[in-house]
Each structure stands twice: as structure tokens, then as C-alpha cells.
């Protein structure tokens, strides 16, 4: 069962992505594409003649997809949370290297910004993991999921994690790394055809990654989980629709001050409380 979940993770991600596009369109008073649009895109992209700039570019993109998929797989299997975060870091580094390996300004700017956004969210993710560790005395996701919801104890960390979601999902106001209108998608710009589909699919998996970490806050409760998922999903898209992009340095300032502060205060509280 778990292995099936892992296998179909990109498809779930694609569905979430499809629904999201519809929801966003409705918020803007548009009808929007069909829910299955991401898969139609996929079909079309697979049919195209493949072009490549150089083989490093492709290899790193492939490894990015594979590593990210494995990270999600490890979450589903309930492995060590801290390790999952670092495997995810590895996958992000692969993407950054892919961006660097071509001789293209947009791609390089995108990679540099992606690297900076890693600086922005990585400490918060680890603080979240440490928060769970203090409560459960273990980094194992299995054990975290077996407990009842701990969101009330980790509320500030949860708020800090909310800052991470738009960074990872490339949502406004934290989407400077991709910034279509400005740097034409950043790292994505040099990919085409099948290889673009690889990067595209990795994005779907990123959805699963970030939302399954979100679900850890709900513990073993299905009800909390679905409430949390739909609530955050709506909030993220609402914010995406209603805010303007901020610069990457402001993003760093916000997460490294506000985000870290929230995390630290929360850790102090549970550290004293236990």
C-alpha cells in the first residue's frame, strides 16, 4: 500500500496542482483550465522532439526528480524526519547545479535565488523537526504520526512553517526564485520537451512533500489532517492571489528573523514545559 502511494505520488501532486489552478482561477473570476490540464501538458511534452543544452543539465534535472521522489517516499514510509530534510536538500542542490550548468543568465539568476531560498527555509524546516523531536523523543515520522495532534504545542512553529510553504511551492509573495514575469522561470528556462516535463513533475512531487510535512502537525487525526490541508491550501492560494512578489533579500530577512524567532520561542516554551 505504501509503495503504491509512493509510486503514485507524482499523480497525486499533479491532481493537487490541477485543482489549485482551478481554485486560483475562480478566485480571479475566471473559469480556469480542466483539472487534468497538468496531465494533458505532460502528454504533449512527451510527444515533442527532445533537445538538450548539455548532458550535465539533464542529468542533474533527472537526479533532482529522483531524489525528491525518494524524499517523499521516505516520508510515506515514516523514516527519520531530519534525514528526509537533508535528502530534500540534496535534491534542491541538484536542481541548483542543473541551473548553473548552462551558459544562460536567466538560469543562473534562478539558481542563485534558489540557493538563497534554501538558506531561507532550511533552518525553519530543521527547527520544525527539532520541535517534533522534543515532544516525541524521536525523529521518526512513524512515531510522530502515531501521536495525536501536537499543533497546539507547536503552534508558533506551525506559523513559521506556513512561511516555508509559499517558498517551496513558488507562490507569491515568495516566488522570486522562479518569477516568470522577471526571469522567465529561472532554472526552468533552458529545459524543453521531455526534460521540461521532468522539472515540471518534480514540482508536483514538491507539493506532496510540503503537504505531507504539513500533515505531521495533525498527528493521527484524519479530521485535523483534512481541515489543515484544505485550510492551508486555501490560505496559500488566497495569499498568492492577493500579494505582490517581494525581493529575495526581503524574503531572507523575513524568514531568518520572524520565522526563526517564532521557531525559537516555540522551542523554548516546549523545552521549559516538558
Amino acid at each position: 500500500m505504501e509503495y503504491l502511494q509512493i509510486l503514485f505520488a507524482p499523480i497525486f501532486g499533479g491532481l493537487i496542482y490541477g485543482v489549485e489552478r482551478v481554485v486560483r482561477a475562480r478566485m480571479q473570476n475566471r473559469i480556469g483550465p480542466p483539472i487534468l490540464q497538468p496531465f494533458y501538458d505532460m502528454y504533449k511534452l512527451f510527444g515533442k522532439e527532445p533537445f538538450m543544452v548539455n548532458n550535465y543539465h539533464i542529468v542533474f534535472a533527472l537526479m533532482h526528480l529522483l531524489t525528491l521522489w525518494i524524499a517523499v517516499g521516505l516520508i510515506i514510509l515514516g523514516e527519520n524526519f531530519l534525514y528526509v530534510i537533508f535528502i530534500h536538500l540534496l535534491s534542491s542542490i541538484f536542481l541548483v547545479l542543473a541551473g548553473y550548468s548552462v551558459n544562460s543568465t536567466y538560469s543562473h539568476i534562478g539558481s542563485n535565488r534558489e540557493l538563497l531560498s534554501i538558506v531561507a527555509y532550511e533552518p525553519i524546516l530543521i527547527l520544525v523537526a527539532v520541535g517534533f523531536y522534543i515532544l516525541n523523543s524521536s525523529f521518526d515520522i512513524d512515531i510522530i504520526r502515531a501521536h495525536s495532534s501536537q499543533i497546539s504545542l507547536l503552534f508558533l512553529l506551525f506559523l513559521a512553517f506556513l512561511l516555508v510553504i509559499p517558498i517551496k511551492l513558488k507562490k507569491s509573495p515568495f516566488d522570486a526564485a522562479e518569477a516568470h514575469q522577471e526571469i522567465v522561470g529561472g532554472i526552468e528556462v533552458e529545459f524543453s520537451g521531455v526534460f521540461f516535463e521532468i522539472v515540471y513533475m518534480a514540482k508536483w512531487i514538491e507539493y506532496i512533500f510540503i503537504y505531507s510535512i504539513l500533515l505531521l502537525f495533525a498527528g493521527d487525526s484524519f479530521l485535523y489532517g483534512s481541515l489543515l490541508f484544505f485550510g492551508v491550501f486555501l490560505i496559500v492560494n488566497l495569499v498568492d492571489n492577493s500579494t505582490a512578489r517581494i525581493k529575495i533579500e526581503n524574503l531572507l530577512q523575513i524568514t531568518l528573523t520572524l520565522g526563526l524567532l517564532l521557531g525559537i520561542v516555540n522551542l523554548v516554551f516546549i523545552g521549559i514545559g516538558v
Binding site: 548532458n55 542529468v59 527519520n80 536567466y106 540557493l115 532550511e122 530543521i126 527539532v130
Partner: protein
């Protein structure tokens, strides 16, 4: 077994003399033999499990005493010669303190040499990685414009350095520790000023006076050790330690932070960059700075909980700020240098915990940091000698010129930040360890946050350097052949890194699945990069939104303003002062 220890300490001195007088060919062959000899002995020692203890006889002690005076006298002479008041002042203070020290004698006696597990690991690092660097310098020094005898002298000093290092990590007598400490200061002084130009001499002098602060701290620690505990040995001092009188310990911590070039004392290590590159390689990886975490490991059992926490907070603070400062640098060696300072501070803070798990983590960090840094510095040397590149902004499209060098650099950086390599495992385990301590003392959150921020800064640093390295263009570059010595020594280090993955597999810091998975991922990447050719796919040049301008790539720099640099300096000065003060009350 004890004869092996003596061999490791004294044979390098004989080797040093031998390579001094020989022709190039004999020198090279002899060096290969000597290095393999040292490696074999250190391996043999590593696989014994007993604790080796032995004493020097009276005569050797007398020789050491005379050497102490000669050495300090030489420092005074250098100070007078270059009209450097600080050097002569510190040297004279040391002579005075040493004479005072000789007036006292202690009654609680112990062994001069004690080789425990920590020492054995250190011996392994010093002899294997130091040996590889010596082999590399055989070739490197030939490309410098020195006279033949001076080239031999270079190799000879490196051997001497290794001998002194072997002494410093095996001795249990703080007096001998002081002598060896001063000898490493001497070695670094001579090596840094090896080029003998104005800048080299200036930087060497800086290294000399800063390191003498460490010497003074050790002498004061000796005196207070005799005063409070009536002993000059590490083990008896630690056994009899009383939480009320920690001055000997906190002074040794100060000495460690001086040697480890932690932030208020960081200038000497960065100044050392002017020397030939193997000097940086050996200072940063196998010798000199590694004394710092070793010393903390050794004395950590005597720490009171407050001192341990203070050392930890200070160490992780330096880890974070040194990584931050490195983000603004453009000189390749300087980037490596600041990241060494950062990682050393991390090792020291983990060592300060003193639990068996912390000791293991610290040892893992020491070993793998040494391998990675040696590898990176060897590449810095190749870049300088073969490609005449020193600054990041000049290193464009390196991958189109030499895939191999880029491979080594990428491996070097990846091994410091990413799974499954040793240094990563050390960092991973230390986060886990500190997280488990937050329940006991809430202040551990501070080091935790410093480590998290510091390690993302380091990740940013390492991979932003790659911006220009791995970008490919379509120009055809003239092929430059790289000497076999450079390549073979680098491959040995890469091999050691891979072997390290196996070792960490044995030690269970992470589950086997976790290590295997990351290994497979990294391996697949390299196999695909080097061996898979996408022949059927049409190649196009980069789209770049149709822009036709020539592209000039550049990396990000994050310069810290002088105001904050000063602030960092004073905060760290305050923290180290606080630690010493804690010992006094």
C-alpha cells in the same frame, strides 16, 4: 607497541634531515618510502586496542628544557630583528613564566606519553593526510622559483612538522605539550614566511605573535595546575579536578581557540594564504589547527556544565559568523580558510560536550574535514600552478577546460555538506545530539540555532562557488595536461572519502539504509555525468531568451559591513574572555 609511538615521534626528524641533503631523484624516492613507512606504522598503532604509556628518561627531559629556551630565545631574536614589539614581548613573558615554572615541582606524577583512542585517530589523520600532502608538495615545490636546497628544506620542514604533531597528540605531560605547541608555532612561522617577501614576513609575524598568546595561556595553565592540583599531567589534572578551581582548564581552552584560529584570532590563519599552497593544505587539514579540537577533546571531561555550555555557545557562534564572513570573499583559498575556521569551531563546540557520542562525532568531523580540506587545497594549488587562477571571478567555464578538477572540487564541497559523506554525518549527528539536550537545559537552543544558520551559510558558500565552475560554453579550449602526482594524490583523498562512507556505515550514526540510499544517489549522478552520452538527443545552445549579448557570469557576494565585523570581533572577544573568567571564579 611503545616503540611504534617513539618511531612516529622521532623518525620524522631523521627523515627531515635525510631529505635535506639529497639530489632530486633520491629525495623523491626517499620521501615516498618515508611516507609509506609513517602510514604503515600509524595504521598498525590504530589497530591496537591497548592504551600505551611510557616515560622519557631524565636526559630527554633535559634536552626538551634546553630546546624550550632555544626556541623562545629564537622568538625574541625574531622580534628584535624585525622590530616587532609584540613578538619579543610575548616571548620574554614566556621565558619569564617558564623560569618561574621551573622553580616549582609537582608531586603527583604520571606518564609522559599516553596513547588512547583519540590520539590514535589523530595519529592516523596526521600521518596519512600529512603524508599525501608531502607527496603532492614534491611536485608542487619544483614549480616554485627557489634554489634546490630551499626546495629540499621545504619538504624537510613538513616532515619535522609531522614529527612535532605526533608528539603533541601523544603527550600527557603539559610541559612537553607546551614545547610541541611552540614547535608547531615555529613550523608555521617558517612555512608562512617561506617565500621571504615582505607580505609573507609580515603575515608570518602575525602568526607568530598570535600563537604565542596560546603559549602564554599554556604556561599560566601549568602554573595554576601546580598551584591548585600539584600536577602537570593531563590525566591526573582531569582526575583530581575540582569544580571550584577550573583556571588551568579554561586557560587551555583559550590556547585551543588561539590555535584553532577562532574569530578574535582568525587573522593569522588567513594570512597564511601567502605561503605556497601545500602549506595551507597541511595547516588546514592534518596539522596545526587540528590541535584545537584535539585539546578540547582531551580536557572536556574536566569541564563544568557551565564551561561546557559556554564553549559550545562560543564555538557555534564562531561557526555561524565565520561562515557568514566567508560569503563575501573572492579569493578561493580565503573561502576555504574561513570555512576551516567555521568547521573547527563546530568541532570544538561538539567536543566540549565530552560524552562518548560527542567524542565520536568530533573525531568523525576531524577526520573527514581533514580529507575534504586537503583535497580542496590541492585543487587550489593546481588551479594556481596549472591554470594560473586564484580568484573566483576569473574561474569561468572551468568544466569545459578540465572536468577532473571540477569533479574533485565538487566532491570536496559536497563531502562537507551533503549525505552520505563523513563531515555531513558529523553535522547530522550533532544536530540530533544537541536536540536531545534541549530538554535538559533550555540554553542548548542557542548552539542549535547557530549550527543551523551556520550550516546553511556554508551550503550557500560552497555551491555559489560552483556557479562559474560548472557552467559550460561551446568554445574549444587548449588541453593542458595536469601532472600525474597531482591527480594521484587527489584520487587517494577521494578514495579515503569513499572509504569513510564505509566507516560511518560501521559506526551507526545513521541507519544503513540511509547511508546506502544517499551513496547510491551520489554514485548514480557521477556515473551518469561521466559515462552516459545522450547521443540521440539533438544538442542546441542555450536559449537565454534569445538574447545575443555575450554572457558574463558572476557569483553572488554578501559582504558584511565593517560595523558588523567589528561587532562580531568584540562579541567573540567578550565570549572567550568570559570563558577564561569563568575559570577564575
Amino acid at each position: 607497541m611503545s616503540e611504534y609511538v617513539l618511531m612516529l615521534i622521532f623518525l620524522p626528524l631523521i627523515f627531515a634531515v635525510t631529505v635535506l641533503f639529497n639530489s632530486l631523484r633520491i629525495r623523491n624516492i626517499a620521501t615516498y618510502l618515508f611516507v609509506s613507512f609513517l602510514v604503515i606504522i600509524s595504521l598498525k598503532l590504530f589497530f591496537t586496542t591497548e592504551i600505551i604509556e611510557l616515560n622519557f628518561n631524565h636526559l630527554v627531559h633535559l634536552v626538551f628544557l634546553v630546546l624550550d629556551f632555544i626556541l623562545l630565545g629564537y622568538f625574541v631574536y625574531q622580534g628584535v630583528k624585525y622590530k616587532d614589539k609584540l613578538i619579543s614581548l610575548f616571548a620574554i613573558v614566556q621565558i619569564a613564566l617558564f623560569i618561574v615554572f621551573l622553580q616549582f615541582s609537582s608531586t603527583i606524577l604520571s606518564n609522559d606519553i599516553v596513547v588512547d583512542r583519540i590520539s590514535r585517530v589523530m595519529l592516523l589523520v596526521i600521518n596519512i593526510i600529512g603524508g599525501v600532502i608531502i607527496l603532492y608538495s614534491l611536485k608542487y615545490i619544483q614549480s616554485e622559483e627557489f634554489k634546490a636546497c630551499k626546495k629540499n628544506l621545504f619538504i624537510s620542514i613538513l616532515f619535522f612538522f609531522i614529527g612535532v604533531m605526533n608528539l603533541i597528540v601523544t603527550t600527557n605531560n603539559i610541559e612537553i605539550f607546551f614545547l610541541a605547541f611552540e614547535f608547531t608555532t615555529l613550523c608555521s612561522y617558517i612555512l608562512i614566511r617561506f617565500r621571504n617577501d615582505e607580505l609573507s614576513i609580515q603575515n608570518a609575524r602575525k602568526a607568530l605573535w598570535m600563537n604565542q598568546i596560546g603559549g602564554i595561556a599554556i604556561l599560566l595553565s601549568l602554573l595554576s595546575g601546580i598551584y591548585y592540583y600539584d600536577t602537570i599531567y593531563f590525566d591526573t589534572l582531569i582526575q583530581n579536578i575540582n569544580g571550584l578551581f577550573l583556571l588551568p582548564i579554561s586557560l587551555l581552552v583559550l590556547a585551543a581557540f588561539v590555535k584553532g584560529a577562532s574569530i578574535p584570532f582568525d587573522k593569522w590563519l588567513l594570512g597564511a594564504m601567502v605561503a605556497p599552497t601545500p602549506v595551507s593544505a597541511i595547516l588546514h587539514s592534518a596539522t596545526m589547527v587540528k590541535i584545537a579540537p584535539y585539546l578540547i577533546l582531551k580536557i572536556a571531561p574536566a569541564f563544568s556544565p557551565t564551561i561546557s555550555l559556554a564553549v559550545m555557545i562560543f564555538g557555534t557562534f564562531v561557526f555561524m559568523t565565520a561562515s557568514l564572513l566567508a560569503l563575501g570573499k573572492d579569493f578561493f583559498k580565503e573561502i576555504l580558510g574561513l570555512s576551516t575556521i567555521a568547521l573547527l569551531a563546530l568541532m570544538m563546540s561538539i567536543a566540549a560536550l565530552g560524552t562518548p557520542e560527542a567524542i565520536n562525532i568530533c573525531l568523525i568531523l576531524i577526520v573527514f574535514h581533514a580529507i575534504s580540506k586537503a583535497l580542496l587545497f590541492l585543487q587550489a594549488g593546481v588551479l594556481e600552478k596549472v591554470y594560473h587562477l586564484k580568484y573566483l571571478q576569473d574561474i569561468d567555464y572551468l568544466v569545459s577546460r578540465s572536468k577532473l578538477i571540477v569533479f574533485f572540487i565538487v566532491i570536496g564541497f559536497a563531502s562537507l555538506t551533503l549525505p552520505p559523506f563523513g563531515a555531513f554525518i558529523g553535522k547530522f549527528a550533532s544536530i540530533e545530539l544537541i536536540a536531545s539536550l534541549i530538554n535538559t537545559n533550555i540554553f542548548y537552543i542557542l548552539p542549535l540555532v547557530f549550527i543551523l544558520i551556520g550550516s546553511v551559510f556554508l551550503t550557500l558558500l560552497y555551491f555559489k562557488v560552483l556557479t562559474k565552475l560548472i557552467a559550460q560554453d561551446n568554445k574549444v579550449y587548449e588541453k593542458i595536461s595536469i601532472d600525474l602526482t597531482y591527480i594521484v594524490t587527489s584520487f587517494i583523498l577521494v578514495g579515503l572519502l569513499c572509504f569513510g562512507i564505509y566507516v560511518s556505515y560501521l559506526y551507526n550514526f545513521m541507519t544503513h539504509l540511509e547511508i546506502l540510499l544517499a551513496t547510491v544517489l551520489i554514485l548514480t549522478t557521477f556515473v551518469m555525468l561521466f559515462f552516459v552520452n545522450f547521443k540521440n538527443i539533438k544538442k542546441v545552445s542555450a536559449y537565454n531568451c534569445g538574447e545575443k549579448d555575450t554572457i558574463k557570469l558572476s557569483a553572488y557576494y554578501f559582504e558584511v559591513s565593517d560595523k558588523y565585523k567589528e561587532l562580531i570581533f568584540y562579541i567573540s572577544l567578550f565570549l572567550i574572555g568570559l570563558i577564561v573568567y569563568m575559570g577564575m571564579i
